[in-house]
Amino acid sequence: MTMKRWIWIPVLVLLVSCGQSGQNTVRLMTHDSFSVSAELLQSFEEEEGIRVVLLPSGDAGAVLNQAILSKGNPLADVFFGVDNAFLSRALAAELFEPYHSPRLTEIPDGLQLDPEYRLLPVDYGDVCLNYDKAWFAQRNLAPPANLEDLIRPEYAGLLVVENPATSSPGLAFLLATIGHLGTGGYLDYWAKLRANDVLVADGWEEAYWGHFTAASDGTRPVVVSYASSPPAEVFYSETPLEEAPTAAIVADGSCFRQIEFVGILKGTKQRAAARALVDFMLGWRFQEEIPLQMFMFPANLNAVLPEVFALYAAVPQQTAEVDPIDIEVHREEWIEAWTEVVLR
C-alpha cells in the first residue's frame, strides 16, 4: 500500500511550482557562455534592490528557439545572446520591446544594428582563423596570412573548420567568406578549400579539442576560432605563459564580427527592473568584466581592456560584412549550397 504515495507526485509538482517569482525579481535568459562575477552582480542587486535570476539554457541557437516558442508567455524578462546572424529572425518574431538606454551614447554606431532599439549591443567577438605558432615555426613555414593563402598547395590539409549547419562560429566563418568574396565567389573558394583537404568538424569543441594541433592530438594547425582565443590560452594555461601558443589571422576581410545583443522580452511584468538590468549590462563596470568573463570585447567605448587582452588579442581593422537581412533571407540557402559543395 505504501506504493500509493506515488500518486501524489503530480499534485506535489503542481503545488511546489506555484508562487515562484516574487516582487522585483528580474529573470535573465541567456546561453551557457554567459558569465559575470558574483561580486559585481551582488553589488548591482544591493544598489537597485533587484534580485537577478540567471537562466542559462543551452547554446545560443537553442536559447533563441526557446524564446521564440514561449513568445507571449515569456520565460524571462531580459534575453541576452542573440547575435547578428540571428538578429533579423529575432526581430521578425517580435520578441522584444524597444528600450532606448541612456548608455547607448557610449556605444559606437557601427554596433547598433537595430534602429528601433529592441536589441542593444553588449559585446562583440571576431571569428577568425587561429594557428599553432610552434607547428609553423618547427617547419619553417610562414603561417597563412589571409583567406586566399589557405587554398595554396603548401597549406593543403592544415585547416579544420566547423560545420555552419551545426555551429555558430562555423556559420560566422562561412559568412566571412561570403562577405569577403561575395555571393558569386564564395562557393568557388570553398570548392578549392575542399580540394585542399579542409576538414569539417561538427562544432567548436570538436574542432579545437579534437583536431587543432595546439590543443589536441589532432593534425590540423589552423582552426576557425575567435580573435580572443589566444588571450584565453594564456589566461587558462595550466602553467604561466610568456607568450600565447596560438595567434589569430586578422587580415582585412578574413574575420566575421559576431555582435551579441540584449533585449527586454515583450510581456514582462518587471519593466523597470528589466531596464535597470539592461543599463547595468551596458555600463562600464559590467562591460569591463566581459573580456575575462566571456572572452568577448566590450561594446562600451569607455570600458578599459584587461592586460591579457591588450597584450595578446589582435583586433582586425576591417571585418567581412554581411547585412543581417541578407543573412536572414539566405541563411538556409547558403548553408545548403555550402553543404553541397563541401560535404557531398
Binding site: M3, K4, W6, I9, P10, V16, Q20, M29, D32, S33, S35, V36, S37, A38, V53, L54, L55, P56, S57, G58, G61, A62, L64, Q66, I68, L69, S70, N73, L75, R89, N163, A165, T166, L171, L199, V200, A201, D202, G203, W204, E205, E206, W209, G210, A215, D217, G218, T219, A232, F235, Y236, S237, E238, T239, L292, Q293, R331, E332, I335, R344
Partner: protein, 550 residues
C-alpha cells in the same frame, strides 16, 4: 489501480509536451503547415537519412550483441577475481560525454595515437596505417563501446539466474553442447536477448553526439536532422514532421517486438546466483574468461584509462595535479562557478531521486504488463501500453526539450524537473530489465502460493519480488547511469543557482580555450567515472531479504 501512476506520469511529462510542440509547430497560425510535409517528401535527402538511420542502428545493434554475448555468458556463469569491479567498469562508458570519449579514441586510434605509433614503429611505415577519422567504423565502434553494458546487464544478469536444470537434463539425454545451446539455452534466453536488442536499437536509432562528432558532418540521422531543422534553420514544421516520422518508426519497432516477445515467452525456472555461478576450472573455461576480460579491457577500459592518464599529464608532458587542484578555484570570480564537490552532490541527488522514481514506475508498469491476461482485449491493451512505455527512448531530445518549453514553461526553473526528465528516459530500461523475469515466472508458483492461502499482495511480495529483485537492481543501476550521464534534456532545463550536473559542468569547461580548460574537463570526467563506478558497486550490494545474490 496502481498502474495508472506510470500512465499519468507519461501523460503529464511526455505526451502532453509532445502534443503541445506538434500543435505549435504544425499549426503555426491555426493552419496546417502542409508545405513542410511536401518538402519532406520532395527531397530525396530525407529518405536517405531515414534509410541510414535504420541500417546504422541495425548494424550497431548486431555488432554490439556479437561482441557482448560472450561477455554476458562469462558474467552469467563464472565467479572470478575482480568480477564485480569489472562489471561496474563496463557500465562506465554509458555516462561519458561524447566529446571526451572522442578525444580518448583519438589518443588511441587517431593519426598520432598509440596504436598507429606502435604499428608505424613496428612496420616502419611513413603514414599511419589506421585511418578511422570521421568514418562509419568509428560510429559503429563507439556504439559498441557505449552499449556493451546493456548486453552484459540484461542478458548476463538474466543468464546468471537461469536454472541450469534443463541444460543438464538435455546433456544427460545425449545432446551435444551445440544442440543444448540452440535448443535449450537460446530459447530460454530469448526474452532477455530481445529486450537488450530493442534497447540498443532504440538507443542507436536516436544517437546524436556519436554521429555528429565521431561520424563527422557527412553522416546524418533523423535525430541530427531534427536538431538542424529546429535549432539552426528554425523550421519547426519540418522538425516536427521528422519527429513524427521517428515516433512512427519507433512505434512500429515496438509492435514487432511485442509480437515476437509473446511468441517466445515461456515459463522458466530461476535460481539464485549462488547456485549457478561456478569458479573457473578447466583450461577451456580459463581461456574463455581470459579472452573476454582482455576484450573488455581493450574495448572499454583502454579509452577510459587514456582519459584518466590525460587528466594527470600537463602541457609539458609531465605529471601534474594542476587540473584537479584548479577545479575548486574560481579564477574569474564568476557567479556561475560551482565547486566540484557540490556538482558531484547535485548529480548524486538527482540520480538518487531518479533511481527511486524510475524503479518504482518501471516496476509498476512491468507488473501490470506481466499480468496481462490471455483474452484478446487485455492483451492488445498491454501491447499498446508496452509500446507507449518505450517511446521516450525513441523520441528526439530536442523535440521533447522544446515541448517542455511550450507546455511546461512555467515549471522550467523548478529543479525537480531534472530528475523527472531523467526518470522518463530511465524507466523504459527498468521495464525491459524486469519484464523478462516477471514473464518467465511460471504460473504454477503463483497458483501454488494462492492455493496455500496467500493473498494476491502476499504472492507479489513473497513470490514475484524475491525472483524479480535482482532484475530490479539491474533496472536501478540503469536508472542511476542514465541520470549520471544525461546531457541533452538537462541542458534544456534552466539551471538557476548551483544546480548543474557533472556532464553540464564538463561541457562548460570544454567551451573555452586553454590547456587548463580541457585538463579540467578531463579531470571532472575522471571524477564522473569514479562516482559512477562507486555508485554502481553500492547498488550492486543491495540484497532482498536473505535470498542472496538473486
Amino acid at each position: 489501480m496502481l498502474f495508472w501512476v506510470p500512465i499519468v506520469f507519461l501523460a503529464l511529462f511526455f505526451i502532453y509536451p509532445l502534443l503541445a510542440i506538434f500543435w505549435v509547430s504544425l499549426l503555426p497560425d491555426g493552419q496546417f503547415a502542409l508545405e513542410a510535409l511536401r518538402e519532406l517528401l520532395a527531397r530525396p535527402h530525407y529518405m536517405r537519412t531515414v534509410w541510414f538511420t535504420i541500417w546504422q542502428a541495425a548494424l550497431s545493434t548486431f555488432l554490439t550483441l556479437l561482441v557482448g554475448l560472450p561477455g554476458a555468458y562469462v558474467f552469467g556463469h563464472y565467479h572470478f577475481r575482480g568480477r564485480q569491479i569489472l562489471k561496474a567498469l563496463t557500465t562506465v562508458p554509458f555516462v561519458m560525454p561524447t566529446v571526451v570519449v572522442a578525444a580518448a579514441f583519438r589518443a588511441l586510434l587517431g593519426p598520432s595515437g598509440r596504436l598507429n605509433q606502435l604499428l608505424q614503429s613496428l612496420l616502419a611505415w611513413e603514414s599511419p596505417p589506421i585511418q578511422l577519422e570521421h568514418s562509419l567504423w568509428l560510429i559503429l565502434l563507439a556504439h559498441v563501446f557505449y552499449n556493451y553494458t546493456v548486453v552484459i546487464r540484461i542478458v548476463g544478469g538474466f543468464w546468471a539466474n537461469l536454472s541450469r536444470h534443463s541444460e543438464e537434463a538435455a546433456a544427460v539425454l545425449g545432446a551435444d553442447r551445440r544442440r543444448v545451446m540452440w535448443h535449450v539455452t537460446l530459447p530460454a534466453l530469448g526474452p532477455a536477448l530481445l529486450a537488450a536488442t530493442l534497447l540498443i536499437f532504440l538507443f542507436t536509432f536516436t544517437s546524436f553526439g556519436v554521429i555528429l562528432i565521431l561520424g563527422g558532418p557527412r553522416f546524418s540521422t533523423l535525430e541530427t536532422e531534427i536538431y538542424r531543422q529546429a535549432v539552426v534553420f528554425l523550421k519547426f514544421p519540418v522538425a516536427a514532421a521528422l519527429s513524427i516520422l521517428q515516433i512512427v518508426f519507433t512505434y512500429g519497432i515496438m509492435l514487432a517486438y511485442t509480437h515476437f516477445q509473446r511468441r517466445i515467452t515461456a515459463p522458466l525456472r530461476f535460481q539464485s546466483q549462488q547456485m549457478t555461478l561456478r569458479p573457473v576450472v578447466t583450461r577451456r573455461e580459463r581461456i574463455l574468461v581470459t579472452a573476454n576480460v582482455v576484450l573488455m579491457v581493450i574495448l572499454l577500459l583502454a579509452p577510459l584509462l587514456a582519459l584518466v592518464e590525460r587528466s594527470f599529464v600537463g602541457a609539458d608532458g609531465r605529471f601534474t595535479l594542476a587540473y584537479y587542484l584548479e577545479l575548486p578555484v574560481n579564477r574569474r570570480g564568476s557567479v556561475l562557478h560551482v565547486a566540484p564537490l557540490q556538482v558531484v552532490v547535485n548529480s548524486l541527488r538527482y540520480a538518487a531521486v531518479t533511481v527511486l522514481l524510475a524503479t518504482a514506475l518501471g516496476a509498476l508498469s512491468a507488473w501490470h504488463l506481466a499480468s496481462e491476461g490471455s483474452q484478446g482485449k487485455r492483451r492488445r491493451w498491454a501491447g499498446w501500453l508496452d509500446s507507449l512505455l518505450m517511446l521516450p527512448l525513441g523520441v528526439s531530445a530536442v523535440t521533447l526539450g522544446f515541448g517542455y518549453v511550450v507546455a511546461l514553461g512555467w515549471l522550467r526553473t523548478w529543479e525537480g524537473l531534472i530528475p523527472l526528465a531523467h526518470s522518463l528516459i530511465a524507466f523504459p530500461f527498468v521495464v525491459r530489465s524486469v519484464l523478462p523475469v516477471l514473464r518467465g515466472i511460471g504460473p504454477h508458483l503463483r497458483e501454488a502460493a494462492a492455493v496455500l492461502g496467500a493473498s494476491p499482495g502476499r504472492v507479489r511480495r513473497e513470490v514475484d519480488l524475491p525472483i524479480a529483485a535482482r532484475a530490479l537492481v539491474v533496472g536501478a543501476m540503469f536508472a542511476f547511469t542514465v541520470s549520471m550521464g544525461e546531457f541533452g534534456a538537462t541542458s534544456f532545463i534552466a539551471r538557476p543557482g548551483a544546480t548543474i550536473t557533472l556532464p553540464i559542468a564538463i561541457n562548460r569547461f570544454l567551451g573555452q580555450p586553454g590547456t587548463l580548460s580541457f585538463g579540467q574537463a578531463v579531470a571532472l570526467s575522471t571524477i564522473l567515472m569514479l562516482v559512477c563506478a562507486g555508485g554502481l558497486l553500492a547498488i550492486e550490494r543491495f540484497r532482498y531479504g536473505d535470498i542472496g545474490e538473486f
